[in-house]
């Protein structure tokens, strides 16, 4: 394919179908316990897999990522909001890198 944008269109269309088909075709609550349990667990497992070890690879030094991880876990455990947890993680990375980098 010669035109770069044709790659973009293919990915955009296929990705949209991947996202929209389950949303539009599966409307009724699912009765099967195994499928329901599977769907209940999927998001937590996915997010956990994407968080670690990625968080320690995203920063300039792993130590900053580890401090952000621990800070995030503690604050989320103490029921801080989404925004507060996120900002605290950013701030910790900034401080740790300011000292160590």
């Amino acid at each position: 394919m010669n035109n770069l944008m044709s790659y973009v269109w293919i990915m955009a269309i296929v990705t949209y179908l991947i996202r929209v088909l389950p949303l539009t075709l599966v409307r009724k609550p699912i009765k099967n316990v195994t499928i329901r349990s599977f769907l209940y667990y999927v998001p937590y497992v996915t997010l956990a897999c994407m968080t670690f070890p990625a968080i320690i690879e995203a920063t300039q030094i792993p130590a900053a990522g580890i401090v952000a991880l621990v800070t995030g876990i503690v604050l989320a455990w103490k029921k801080a909001s989404l925004f507060q947890v996120s900002m605290a993680c950013c701030l910790m990375v900034f401080i740790v890198e300011l000292i160590l980098v």
Binding site: M1, V20, L21, S37, V42, P43, T46
Partner: protein, 228 residues
Amino acid sequence: MTEFKRGMKDGIPIGMGYFAVAFTLGIMAKNVGLSPIQGFVTSALINASAGEYACFMMMASHGTFWQMVMMTLVSNARYFLMSFSLSQKLDEKLSTWQRMIIGFDVTDELFGLAINQEGKVPPLFLYGAYCVAIPCWASGTALGIIAGNTLPLRLVSCLSVALYGMFLAVIVPASKKDKVVCALVLTSFLLSYCTRNLPFSSGTRTLILTIVISLIAAIVFPRREMDE
């Protein structure tokens, strides 16, 4: 309108993280020859970090039509599972049109935000979050192409953990409430760490681990007391 505003507010940390990630994607897009406008359009249409990364790699290697389709399926397959889960969080009576709009931006982060809501998710809440997230993602890519390497590394590094902080705000409270979820999160951390050097993209690795871990958990620990 309050749901819309609440969505915008919760979309801010996501938008900031998106901006940082999109900026680095923009640098890659520049290397394969995309203009800032093309980069903006790419990100506004696709909304997927691993997917776009794969897309730029295909451009660079002059992949064929079918290679491109397969690559899309592999790198973005996890959205299929997410949309499946998200569908259960929407009002059964919600129109197909609204579902088609919601489907436009089912991403890891926005999905995380949606499932974190108590009960059914109001569509306006999602639209509010989309209104912040999509412009950040698209403009981040365009700016990455324009500005290249001029944004201070310190700032990129600091912004890049905003996303993970958001993920933690979703998985930690759920782990506190449910011992099985807690065990699954720890298992996921461990397995994800152990498999980090295998020759898969992080998208593929996440997909495989998610299916395997969740399936085993669903069989061993079925949830009988589901409310909703």
